[in-house]
């Protein structure tokens, strides 16, 4: 069977995602976990590119890979030693958690494989910035102005609360 370029890219991306997400949750060094998470997020952006969602892939790269991972690495550097290794997870806990996850995985995958998705032959809508911006601010059919406004309020609240929580409180002598 001849592999097309798209299939080859999908195999690479999904292999990287599966391998590095397993490494993210099993590695014993915390900074390495953050680096592996970065690989997973970048491959996810590659999958978005494959499906022709360029805008979403750009958001994924800038916000997830650029923003959240940097934030996580900063907090790692603030709170733990780089050379510190976690103690290994206990056998009992590891086996029970792995059993729970694998059981869930099997249930979901068999359900997915048995379900016949009905194909849709509709013509794909062209995605450009014009369409995205207009539907984010439109209140008509297929408009998203309400979640857009809610998310902006949420971002403001999160920003203020992060500053208030992380602010250094007064020490005993200052009081």
């Amino acid at each position: 069977m001849e592999l097309t370029g798209n299939q080859l890219m999908f195999i690479i991306f999904s292999g990287v995602i599966v391998l590095f997400s397993i490494l993210t949750v099993t590695t014993r060094r915390i900074l390495r976990a953050a680096t592996y998470l970065l690989f997973v997020l970048i491959s996810t952006a590659g999958i978005y590119f494959m499906l022709n969602f360029q805008f979403l892939a750009a958001i994924q790269l800038t916000l997830y890979a650029g923003g959240i991972v940097v934030l996580i690495i900063f907090s790692i550097l603030l709170t733990s030693h780089i050379s510190q290794k976690f103690e290994p997870v206990g056998w009992k806990k590891m086996i029970l958690s792995a059993l729970a996850s694998i059981a869930g995985m099997i249930v979901c995958i068999t359900t997915i494989l048995n379900y016949k998705f009905s194909a849709n032959a509709a013509i794909a809508q062209e995605i450009n910035m014009d369409v995205i911006g207009k539907s984010l601010l439109s209140y008509e059919h297929n408009g998203y102005v309400l979640p857009f406004e809610v998310i902006s309020v949420l971002l403001l609240a999160a920003m203020i609360s992060a500053i208030v929580i992380a602010k250094k409180g007064k020490t005993q002598q200052e009081k």
Binding site: V25, I47, I112
Partner: protein
Amino acid sequence: MSHAGIPLHYFLIVSTIMFFVGVYGFLTRKNLITMLMSIELILNSVNINFVAFNRYLYPDGLHGQFFSIFIIAVAACEAAVAIAIIINIYRRFRTISVEDVSEMKF
């Protein structure tokens, strides 16, 4: 029923594996930051689902893409607030292991 020669099921299987790897990490990890990373994995796998459904089943709309954008925004908020809380906990207890942080009143 395949876009560029890849059936929809493959995307769903990849995202399922990613989701349950995230669940495994959330159950086994004890460090707060690594638990946060597991949550990011879970949110990301959901995004892949939304995007694949959008492209394969409803190609004439953009609902999946917008839901993914909103999920990414919520994940960013969650990470910012969680890291602020983690830094505050570290300042008070000198550790971020969930087992050592057991008192809420100070």
